[in-house]
Symmetry: C2
Subunit: 234 residues, 2 copies
């Protein structure tokens, strides 16, 4: 019952089509961005690539290693300007905003980032470039390391907290307006005991969520950079 020659498949393509690490990383990034860390399983990922589940393991040693690759991919998305092109302050601002934006694009980052070394090549470039930027701003020796880490810590901490809030809205299923309204109501219920908290929540609900979070981020970033500025070139 062979098929006739001309409808038979031809030699199964010139070079056999094959999975690649890049393909896997790209697909995993899509899944992760869309469904979060709990939504990524090796089986689902393989299915998305029309492959058997365990085929992935030839290209990637382990799921954790895959995640390391993905983290490094994110580090590669971040802009750090050359010190010659911008002053330190504006360069640091651009860097910080770029870092925050990357975290918001990849809301799964905070929950995996703090559990691993993660010094892949793109992370190295990021670290190296940010050190250069700050050295251009007059930081040297230990101050250099400390200043860079301070900014990264602040931005990552802030963006991580933001992600938690934003995901909360997303997972609630409600619209942003409905969610903030409900939030205020709930706050008022508990706030008999905590008037400070009620006032704070009420304040926040007067603004768009996005502008409130951005304002918050910028406020602390400016303060931190002010504080660092006095320590430069000392």
């Amino acid at each position: 019952m062979r098929e006739p020659i001309w409808t038979r498949e031809r030699k199964a393509s010139p070079a056999r089509e094959t999975l690649s690490r890049e393909q896997i990383v790209a697909a995993a990034m899509q899944v992760l961005d869309a469904e979060g860390v709990t939504g990524l399983s090796m089986r689902k990922l393989a299915a998305k690539l029309d492959a058997g589940a365990t085929s992935l393991y030839w290209h990637v040693p382990t799921k954790d290693d895959l995640i390391d690759l993905l983290i490094d991919e994110v580090w590669g998305e971040i802009d750090v300007p050359e010190p010659e092109l911008a002053g330190w302050r504006s360069g640091a601002l651009l860097f910080a905003h770029s870092l925050r934006a990357a975290v918001l694009r990849h809301p799964w980052l905070p929950e995996v980032m703090y559990t691993r070394p993660s010094m892949g090549p793109k992370g190295m470039v990021l670290g190296s470039r940010s050190l250069m930027l700050f050295r251009g701003g007059g930081f040297t020796e230990f101050d250099l390391d400390h200043a860079v880490s301070s900014v990264m810590s602040y931005v990552l901490g802030c963006a991580s907290a933001e992600v938690a809030t934003r995901e909360m809205v997303r997972n609630s299923g409600r619209s942003e307006g409905e969610w903030t309204a409900e939030m205020l109501e709930r706050a008022q219920q508990v706030s008999a005991d905590y008037p400070e908290m009620r006032a704070s929540v009420r304040r926040r609900t007067t603004q768009q969520l996005d502008t409130a979070l951005t304002a918050n981020f910028v406020y602390g970033l400016d303060a931190l950079l002010d504080g660092l500025q006095t320590r430069a070139r000392s």
Copy 2:
């Protein structure tokens, strides 16, 4: 074959000995601190309590809810001084150090903290007291919220990164000295392309890990508080 009255158990105890939510939370905290988030499973936890695995579910709706309880427990460990007892600056310092210490005591916190609302009662108290502290420092309205969040973001970001480093050492199985030495060597291997990074790593290896991390934390914290101070009472 009845035993004599006075050695017999009295009424089989007033109320049958039973699991309690507090017991479960306490045991889970132990497991979590010792073995991290991946080391905590409902079955293991139940075994530790000499109970059937699914018995826990009568006291706690879900593993995620249990983790929410644990997070709130941690918030309860944090000191925030009354504004009357200390000035704003020293109060904020104490608060920040207390928060950092709590994260270091519970290194599993960063990887779960950013994935949930987590506004339990002790979190409320923490938020409320920190707002009071900063209001005593001259912050009002939006500045108040922003200043508090800035400090929390910085401290949590910094402590989270620290935890990542410390866990890296712990999981390597080597001693701290061996680990830093190996780290430096590896950095030197890759550093042909990244001289800035090599210099930074070398600088860090000249100090004790703990003092380096603490110095880093304090540096950024001071800078941030400096920056905030100029914004108070404005």
